[in-house]
Amino acid sequence: MIRHLLSGADLDAATATRILDTAAEMATVAGREVKKLPALRGRTVVNLFYEDSTRTRISFEAAAKRLSADVINFSAKGSSVAKGESLKDTALTLQAMGADAVVVRHPASGAPHRLAEWVDGSVVNAGDGTHEHPTQALLDAYTMRSRLGRLAGLSVTVVGDVLHSRVARSNVLLLSTLGAKVTLVGPPTLIPVDWATRAAAANTSGGGAAQSPDITVCYDLDAVLPTSDVVMMLRVQRERMTDSYFPSAREYARRYGLDGQRMRRLPEHAIVMHPGPMNRGMEITPEVADSARSTIVEQVTNGVSVRMAVLYLLLGGNNA
């Protein structure tokens, strides 16, 4: 088993499948009278959050507590960070306190990778800037697998602000490892240039052998809906937008928002996902978000099971 979970690319198919299988067992704990397992008794998990978060932090906290670990929550607001302490000094402080795992969210891409060099314990990336969010990708994969029964061969369409989305990046890496076909859809300004050119090159050269991950880029949402098994809507991240990427919110919603009419064009079995938090009316209408196809609430529930699996597999044995 790996020591840190920093990127969706850290996981090979066997490890990822092992995490998903373990998560399925962890999920049964939620239905028990005593929702607690003794696996991480006496271990300390620090939630180090430099960025606002509700579901991810609570989800990690619930996961660690269900495994009987001691949880220390650290948020940058109201801590020594406000006095100017560097990430390294904070890391060394945590190290001195004996943290067995550090769950880190940071606005700077790559911060968890640096942190992993400074601490002895395991580092779990809970979102770094516009880079990666591997546990979200795992819980998305888990949700797809439990709803549709498989991952290999699924057509997954990721729609919206791919450029700023760490969720999209981790999902592309993990899902292609697990054999799903990923299509990125969005305004050209919000699709990373390297992925767009790579996908275009793969299409013209006729073979995607040298291209990994294996992805397709499309700018027309309506064209890909009838062949999608999963549609993953991404939040338009206004707080990260330093430029004008599209003319107006209304135009974005009209071209790339998922409404009831578009939803009805999906195959019968298709599901709609959203990592949350949603901008209702922007990328997704309330009709879609609250429909039976939507797995948005399920994703939150599955998040706890998947994070329990990750923490157990990183910390449970003597391989940490």
Partner: protein, 194 residues
């Protein structure tokens, strides 16, 4: 220098294998435990059999099948995974966890009989008792094992024992079942043959 002729080299040490129970013996022993359960529990009412993976699970199913053949009572069967309750979890690489399946009626207020293949240190049973504590509150807990090889490290004993085998710590007992290994049998490996 030429290699010495094979005849002059010391005889290769054969790992000694002793068959304790052959295939037919295993079935007889299971039948006997099933009878003992019926006798001791007065008809196995309000009783649940919980197998401890790996081989306790098929053994529990066999016991239930034999009990229903002998007395026509359906005893609920389940599986209790104890991985996360082991006391040596941290001494090994991370172990894969298996499923815990409780029968639909649950175990609250029932007589739970834990079923395992080999009783050795007693640590597995201790872990199972802890696990049981988290999934319900049985009225009583009993233990059935196919083989008791001794060397207990905890104050634990079995209520139903298929076969007592005196062993040394250097030896190892291996149970095989049709469901998991293709054949039924109990073998004793290692130690000295005299």
């Amino acid at each position: 220098m030429a290699c010495p002729p094979a005849a002059e080299s010391p005889p290769a040490r054969q790992p000694s294998v002793k068959v304790i129970l052959a295939s037919a013996d295993v079935q007889r022993v299971v039948d006997r435990i099933a009878h003992q359960i019926l006798e001791k529990t007065q008809g196995a009412a309000d009783t649940v059999l919980l197998g401890i993976p790996t081989r306790g699970a098929p053994l529990a199913r066999r016991l239930a099948a034999r009990i229903s053949t002998f007395e026509d009572v359906a005893v609920p069967v389940g599986v209790l995974d104890i991985t996360l309750y082991r006391d040596d979890l941290r001494r090994h690489a991370t172990r894969a966890i298996g499923p815990t399946e409780l029968p639909p009626g649950g175990i609250d207020g029932k007589r739970v009989i834990l079923v395992d293949d080999v009783l050795f240190s007693g640590r597995t049973v201790r872990a199972a008792l802890d696990a049981l504590n988290d999934v319900g509150r049985p009225s009583s807990v009993q233990l059935a094992v196919l083989v008791d090889r001794g060397h207990r490290e905890l104050p634990i004993r079995a209520d139903y024992v298929g076969k007592n085998i005196p062993t040394s710590l250097a030896e190892s007992v291996k149970v095989t079942l049709v469901e998991t290994d293709g054949t039924d049998g109990v073998k004793l490996y290692g130690g000295t043959t005299s």
